[in-house]
Symmetry: C2
Subunit: 383 residues, 2 copies
Amino acid sequence: MIFPPEEFAARTAKAQAMMAKRGLAALLLTTEPDVRYFTGFLTRFWESPTRPWFLVVPAAGDPVAVIPGIGAALMARTWITDIRCWSAPDLSDDGVTLLADTLRELAGAGDIGLPSGHETHLRMPLEDYARLAQLLAPQRLTGDGGILRSLRLVKSEAEIAQIAEACRIAARAFARVPEIARPGVPLSQVFRRFQVLALEEGADWVPYLAGAAAHGGYADVISPATDRPLESGDVLMLDTGLTRGGYFCDFDRNYSIGPASPAVRDAHARLIEATQEGFDAARPGATAATLFEAMNRIVTLGGGGSGAGGRLGHGLGMQLTEGPSLIPADTTELRPGMVLTLEPGIDLAPGKMLVHEENIVITDAGAAWLSPPADPDIMEIGT
Amino acid sequence: MIFPPEEFAARTAKAQAMMAKRGLAALLLTTEPDVRYFTGFLTRFWESPTRPWFLVVPAAGDPVAVIPGIGAALMARTWITDIRCWSAPDLSDDGVTLLADTLRELAGAGDIGLPSGHETHLRMPLEDYARLAQLLAPQRLTGDGGILRSLRLVKSEAEIAQIAEACRIAARAFARVPEIARPGVPLSQVFRRFQVLALEEGADWVPYLAGAAAHGGYADVISPATDRPLESGDVLMLDTGLTRGGYFCDFDRNYSIGPASPAVRDAHARLIEATQEGFDAARPGATAATLFEAMNRIVTLGGGGSGAGGRLGHGLGMQLTEGPSLIPADTTELRPGMVLTLEPGIDLAPGKMLVHEENIVITDAGAAWLSPPADPDIMEIGT
């Protein structure tokens, strides 16, 4: 396990204090990051949609796992000792009765909270959820009041160390991009070879890689690679979320294939300036919206701000993106331990954008870089 | 796009015929594979949990996308022409009103079906789902009657070709495992280097890799790698779900580090025999349960069958695992075009199992191998 039991016990105690305030008798968790947050249960097996997994955090005492038997051995290696299994898949009762019995035992007649707000979902079939609610009635399944979101917003020192390690690995991979990118190489090959670089530098997995290459800027930032070969004049952008120990980095780098045009050079320098403004504004007491405004002021000089991404950064950690969102409406107050991306974009022309992204952590004294901040001069390859 | 528009139009027409039978006025889809099934929208961006994505399949006419603006450019490259966007994330109304308006427009007062059964989930916040139901009432959100499951069970020729290509890539990577595995190499390094082999051989991504290495068999099949070095006498198992063009393979290989013990050798040969029995039984008209029984008869000779996985195989395609499940209770009838894994396991001792897995496709004449079937003799490395 990546973290000692004390880390998970502390998280559980914090959750229970918040549950007491909200009058919740238990939390019911169903997604990979929420289950892992309290257990350390780390596996790629969530890629299979077949089996639901449940964790119950009671008002007092340790969490209880209600899981398919295939996960029993791995869960037993975590700090969790109360592990209740069924043989899944069970087409007539896929853990629902076992879960209902467990919830009644641990929560009595009290309310059970589930993460239900922005950026959450319920990872179990809707029909099974309806049946669970029937079995439990009049006991109520309700929202968790944002407890999980609130807990996961602020990272522990151990979590920050993992994210920092992921960032260092990605930085080494980005520094080696000149080894794999040159005119004539298809973007799809650049994507494969960048993943290889990330693995060679120590990534456990590369769950996310997006990017683009096009003359003078690109049309979007979420597309998979095409087989079009790189050409001189392209701006190549690679944006990766690799993981180490189950924690993500999420930042990008832009490269000019051949000499950069003045417009691309200027846009890149302005993005770095905007990122620095965001960094300077990032301190306890500022808000997510503050950072948006600080960066947006720079990228909209001359009218070129990009709205395509919908925001200028976000939290990250066990997931590629987490709360808060750097948008005007998000007034989440920054606190030490929050890990954020700064991600300004500039539209140079219709369908021609540049986006830059770095990762930072909020400390008592302000912000600290987790990714090594890029130079204002866009890196040129093959000049 | 991987497939021509005709492929997606045919899928839509099939869905609409099934909707008509069930009296559904629209389907509402929220997950990556379900949205991609009707659109071809392929991106790793689903890794970010922040934004919901919606696709509405009306009773007649083409599907309509209701998506965050960040996906507009990529969706516009698919065959979908009616693309309705909002600027996400929107903390007060994250697409819910736009979706409700679209559903009312396309479905009138008719019922809207959502995948709700086994192996499904709803990928949007529960609170937003409740608000959507309120906005639409008295129009009903209900189950899809298994339409998506039924459609996706049978693959088209184009889909089977993608899965076959993924299998060929994995087979080449498995053949190169002797390059990366030898006594003294930590399992975590084997995992990284196997992913590199998969990418070198043509994988787009390696979303799934599980495995283990232990003396005389392993304790489970879903754990991530530890840093323990390989030792002579270990059975090394690697099980990968790599993707090409958005389609998975899912099969494994076992290797003996140094000479295999008689018990390991016999168990491996029995697993290959069981797999062959499953293959021979796999033909149109047989059921998922038939395949289970065929393989289970062999692996339980002498009492050593393994129940840890909960099943002896499953479907695969756009996801690592899909229906049906090879269990006694699953009476799904096999039809040409179904792609399945055969995955028997044997317990040699408590905490010491071997699992073997191959991929097949059901044809009119019987089964055909998609993965190249392994030899009965376990491959020995370093002897």
